[in-house]
């Protein structure tokens, strides 16, 4: 599936999810759905990054066979392997942040059910002072939790931006590999094909990260 297809499914998925959530929990439910989608996209990027690693390894062997004519290509292939590793590590860090977000949002979903129950209790016993104290305490906890989620949200966005910058570097490496492939003498065609694949895959990752940055979770339209 392409990133574009993913994006359209993403929008449709959000819309479809809203009616099954209760009014009070729909915001958290929508957030949870968006987080799940982000996580799926991250898994996809990790998988593609691993593919770059294997491709770069093969490219290094190819460059060795091409000899002096592909020395530059070999260096770039090696850099692409490092890029692949850095990208996967960055994505794993994102996954950990996602885990923290899921934990916080899940608590909100559970608490929203209890909020409804307490609201009904307050209607049934409107003059109960202690119940109002409990409601105020819960409200304060909700505020603290909202602050934590906002902080995690900002952290996740920054980490995605970092990953996007890393992918820009990967794009430069792939384009440079294309140029170096042209000097590959008898191997130029093979090296050109490999560098073209690098370029395509980096473009795919860039597209995934762009869709993540446009996620409704960060206030975007996707």
């Amino acid at each position: 599936m392409t990133a574009e297809e993913n994006t359209s499914e993403w929008q449709g998925g959000d819309e479809a999810f809203v009616p099954v959530a209760t009014e009070s929990s729909s915001g958290a439910a929508l957030d949870l759905l968006r987080i799940v989608r982000i996580n799926e996209e991250i898994k996809r990027v990790v998988s593609v990054a691993f593919k770059i690693n294997i491709m770069a390894l093969n490219a290094i062997f190819l460059a060795k066979r091409a000899g002096n004519a592909a020395l530059g290509f070999g260096v770039l292939s090696n850099e692409l392997r490092v890029f692949s590793k850095d990208l996967r590590e960055g994505m794993m860090a994102l996954t950990r942040q996602i885990h923290d977000l899921v934990a916080e949002v899940s608590v909100i979903l559970q608490e929203s059910r209890y909020d409804r129950v307490f609201a009904e209790a307050a209607l049934a016993a409107p003059d109960h002072a202690q119940l109002h104290t409990v409601l105020e305490r819960r409200e304060a906890r909700h505020g603290e939790r909202a602050d934590r989620i906002a902080s995690l949200r900002r952290g996740l966005r920054l980490a995605i931006d970092d990953a996007a910058r890393l992918v820009e570097l990967g794009g430069v490496l792939a384009k440079s590999a294309k140029i170096e492939a042209a000097y590959g003498a008898g191997f130029a065609s093979s090296l050109g094909q490999v560098s073209g694949e690098f370029d395509g895959i980096v473009e795919e990752i860039r597209s995934s990260l762009d869709s993540l940055r446009r996620s409704g979770f960060f206030g975007g339209s996707a």
Binding site: Y114, L123, A124, H128, Q130, R138
Partner: protein
């Protein structure tokens, strides 16, 4: 909203039944909650599911300060028994939940922390309440594999959880059993299906026959009192349980 009815009172020692909510949705099973008060403290027996918390809370708080509830007794682990735990803990986070050791790591999924739970051993235990000694009585496999009832020797009341439960029709909502033979028809199918062990049932009947009981208070249905208590024990003793259909 549920109503409260005092079923025993002797000075500061009191049993209150919290029962019958006309506004309860039909898809939720009706439950009885009981509050034992002694020395200004309360023990709430099978406080119910989270969905009925508003009804139980408003009824109870009209009678008693919820922050004075020192503990909860959960006869077993079912959601209609104790899924409201987290809500009650909001009023007193130090509140203890007395429950079979078997469910000590299951019920925390409803709420509470490690020190919330007081595990009850299989043979039962004394649960103190401001000087009153309440006795947790084994009722394992009736229906839950870790199941206890609560006996108050002074009040001569046995809280019997699901044993004695009856699924009553809308026109029979009295708090006490009035005509045993007609009432027990509403209990028969429940007991045949939900009680899983004839041997456990036999042992329970033998055990409670030695207790002085004026009232047998189930979590569903009506309370047995006087001669109906022994009638019920005899009926249950002869009932073949652990079958899909009667």
């Amino acid at each position: 909203m549920k109503t409260t009815q005092t079923i025993f009172e002797d000075g500061g020692h009191k049993w209150t039944a919290i029962v019958r909510d006309p506004a309860k949705p039909e898809f939720l099973i009706d439950t009885n909650e009981y509050l034992v008060q002694h020395g200004g403290q309360g023990l709430l027996l099978d406080p119910g599911g989270s969905e009925i918390f508003p009804a139980v809370f408003s009824a109870l708080s009209s009678e008693f300060d919820p922050s004075k509830i020192a503990g909860i007794f959960a006869s077993h682990q079912d959601p209609d028994i104790v899924s409201s735990l987290a809500l009650w803990l909001e009023f007193n986070p130090q509140m203890k939940c007395h429950v079979s050791w078997l469910w000590g790591s299951f019920i925390p999924h409803f709420g509470g922390k490690g020190d919330t739970f007081v595990p009850l051993p299989d043979e039962g235990a004394v649960i103190p309440l401001a000087g009153l000694q309440l006795q947790a009585i084994p009722a394992h496999y009736l229906h839950s594999s870790g199941n206890l009832h609560l006996y108050d020797r002074q009040a001569r009341i046995l809280f019997s959880g699901d044993v004695g439960a009856a699924l009553l029709p809308a026109e029979k909502q009295g708090l006490f059993v009035e005509d045993f033979s007609s009432h027990i028809r509403f209990a028969e199918g429940f007991h045949r299906r939900w009680m899983g062990s004839n041997e456990a049932k036999r042992q329970w009947c033998e055990r409670v026959s030695h207790l002085e009981i004026d009232m047998l208070c189930p979590q569903h249905g009506a309370i047995y009192q006087g001669a109906d208590v022994q009638r019920f024990i005899n009926w249950f003793d002869e009932l073949h349980v652990g079958v899909l259909r009667s």
